[in-house]
């Protein structure tokens, strides 16, 4: 089984420096890309069916194709790597950032070339200190070797690349809020249209892609679209970093074919539940995805299959709920997070989420009312798509609506017994 994204990453070892990265075939894709027309690079990425790994699964080449090209295109154009990774339960980009920084940098240069970007930023969350250090070092190495800067490898193409370390807020990961954060403003999202590809950072054409998305690009350019599609078990191309946290025997992160089943990831790679714990459900791709439960374990972890199962692939890092953990308490924890991180721009989100948080807290404390369930259901509706400016609120509604659906008995018990049955009060 091929694992292109993690082949240079050895547990406990420092990442490859430039000479080692080159020896392993690094920067060959960049040389190859520079001999291609920019549109040809986009074409091979399109052919590969690469879809964004940041959560929404938008086809990468399609995103790039909205960027104005040619002599009349506005400049500077920007490319941004979204390395904010603050989705609870998500720890995949960190591995790529710490484990093989040159892979990301090469991915950014090749992608930047495809849209003819002039300046790139890596938008990194502050908590990833080691990643910051390693990226700084790798960027400096790449400049010294002529992979960055003016006239890359003697070509006509030039790119400046900078690291921006965020001052922290979940909202910064939303791509238009991220643009505001980079401009030194509050990270509220922007109205779309105009889309960032046309009018983004400082009003110039900008693409924002996730770390894992960009890391795939050099391999696609090197080995071709057919190879990439073959890595996957389904129609979306490539491998995927899948993770598991919670009370399983071996929590961790693995690069596997896109479309590996939930069961294989949970039972084979994560070793199944710890002794004495039973499986109740899981959030397949971070905090803002719908629960899936025991009879859905044979679903493939890819974008379309997860959607058909009523959830989303999201970030592909699952959070497991066991039978000794209170589902209402878990939802309280999740909705507390969303309420805290709401940027305050729209009422259903900032006001609604604090209501939701209070209702769940009341239930946990033994003050649940029969009418609470209806109130939670109405918030699910109000938080849903179409009522708010960005996807934070709909994301917050996903675990809540599916939690109400699958763990209704647990909600009822809280209300009936006037206590949390898990806390032994």
């Amino acid at each position: 089984m091929e694992t292109p994204l993690t082949r240079n990453i050895l547990p406990g070892k420092s990442p490859p420096d430039l000479p080692r990265y080159e020896k392993a075939g690094g920067y060959v894709a960049l040389r190859k890309a520079l001999r291609m027309a920019p549109e040809a690079v986009t074409a091979v990425v399109k052919e590969s069916n690469l879809r964004g790994r940041g959560g929404a699964g938008f086809p990468t080449a399609q995103k790039w194709s909205f960027v104005p090209m040619g002599d009349d295109a506005p400049h500077p154009k920007y490319i941004i790597c979204n390395a904010d990774e603050m989705e609870p339960g998500t720890f995949k980009d960190r591995l790529l950032l710490e484990g093989d920084p040159h892979q990301l940098i090469e991915g950014m240069i090749v992608s930047a070339y495809a849209v003819q970007a002039d300046v790139g930023y890596i938008f990194l969350r502050w908590a990833y200190k080691l990643a910051a250090q390693r990226l700084e070092q790798a960027i400096a190495e790449a400049y010294r070797k002529g992979y960055l800067g003016r006239n890359i490898l003697g070509s006509e193409y030039s790119l400046e690349l900078h690291l921006h370390v965020s001052a922290g807020r979940y909202m910064c990961g939303e791509e238009t809020a991220l643009l505001n954060a980079l401009e030194g403003k509050r990270a509220n999202p922007r109205a779309k249209p105009p889309y960032p590809q046309v009018s983004g950072l400082w009003g110039k054409p900008t693409i924002v892609n996730n770390v894992e998305t960009l890391c795939n690009v050099p391999h696609i350019v090197n080995y071709g679209a057919a190879w990439f599609k073959n890595l996957s078990h389904g129609t979306d191309g490539g491998t995927k970093l899948y993770g598991v946290s919670g009370k399983v025997k071996k929590p961790g992160l693995w690069e596997l074919p896109m479309g590996t089943t939930v069961r294989e990831i949970l039972e084979e790679h994560a070793g199944g539940m710890r002794d004495g714990y039973r499986f109740r459900g899981l959030l397949p791709g971070g905090a803002s995805t719908d629960f899936i439960v025991a009879d859905q374990l044979d679903v493939a972890m890819d974008f379309d299959s997860m959607q058909a199962a009523g959830s989303r692939l999201g970030t592909g890092t699952m959070i497991v709920l066991d039978d000794k953990t209170c589902p209402v308490g878990m939802l309280h924890n999740l909705e507390h997070f969303f309420a805290q991180e709401s940027c305050g721009w729209c009422t259903p989100c900032w006001s609604g989420l604090s209501w939701v948080e209070q209702i769940l807290q009341g239930m946990e404390e033994g003050n649940g009312q029969a009418s609470d369930l209806e109130r939670l259901q109405s918030h699910v509706r109000l938080l849903g798509p179409g009522h708010t400016f960005c996807a934070l609120a709909p994301g917050a509604a996903e675990p809540l609506q599916s939690g109400l659906k699958y763990f209704g008995d647990d909600f009822d018990r809280h209300i009936r017994e006037k206590r949390c049955p898990w806390r032994g009060r």
């Binding site: 603050m86 609870p88 339960g89 720890f91 980009d93 509050r186 990270a187 905090a287 997070f337």
Partner: protein
């Protein structure tokens, strides 16, 4: 006023951004790095240096979690309170830290040594529960491990007291 050091660090960062406004978060971080937190004076200093109003800068400073607008202890403990850590025992750790340090979330210990803050997911969910102190990540935590880590910081603290500040202390 900004110190020479602060000024030159901000200057170095300015090469990465096309205008002063974009530099403001970076500048706030630099001031915080040197002064421990961002006071009203810190806001005024940065605003003046970048040609922004204090109100404008304040609205940015208060938005971001890692800009501290209140004084903090020497070491800030960021305890992850997100979902995977919650499942793996966050509440027990919070109580344990509270007892050991005599403080609740958002508070600073009487000796000024530690501030305890809750924090969103630290990206260590497969090694939950997790926390950070300064730039260091600590994971797979339980109360015993917390005691070891606190003891290490407290020992350093005592050693520093014995050799009064000549600025040569190193971070662990």
């Amino acid at each position: 006023m900004l110190s020479e050091q602060e000024r030159s660090e901000i200057q170095a960062e300015s090469q990465h951004y096309p205008n002063n406004r974009a530099l403001c978060i970076e500048a706030l971080k630099i001031v915080q790095q040197h002064r421990g937190w961002v006071s009203d004076e810190g806001i005024a200093d940065v605003a003046e240096a970048l040609g922004m109003t204090c109100v404008e800068l304040e609205s940015v400073a208060t938005f971001y979690n890692m800009i501290f607008r209140k004084p903090v202890g020497k070491h800030v403990i960021l305890l992850c309170d997100s979902v995977s850590c919650w499942i793996m025992g966050y509440e027990r750790l919070r109580e344990h830290l509270g007892v050991r340090l005599g403080i609740g979330l958002g508070e600073t210990s009487a000796d000024g040594c530690f501030t305890l803050l809750p924090n969103v997911c630290l990206g260590a969910c497969d090694h939950a529960p997790a926390m950070m102190i300064g730039g260091n990540h600590y994971q797979d935590l339980d109360p015993a491990r917390i005691d070891e880590i606190l003891a290490k910081y407290q020992k350093e603290e005592r050693e520093e007291e014995r050799e009064p500040a000549d600025g040569n202390t190193t971070d662990a």
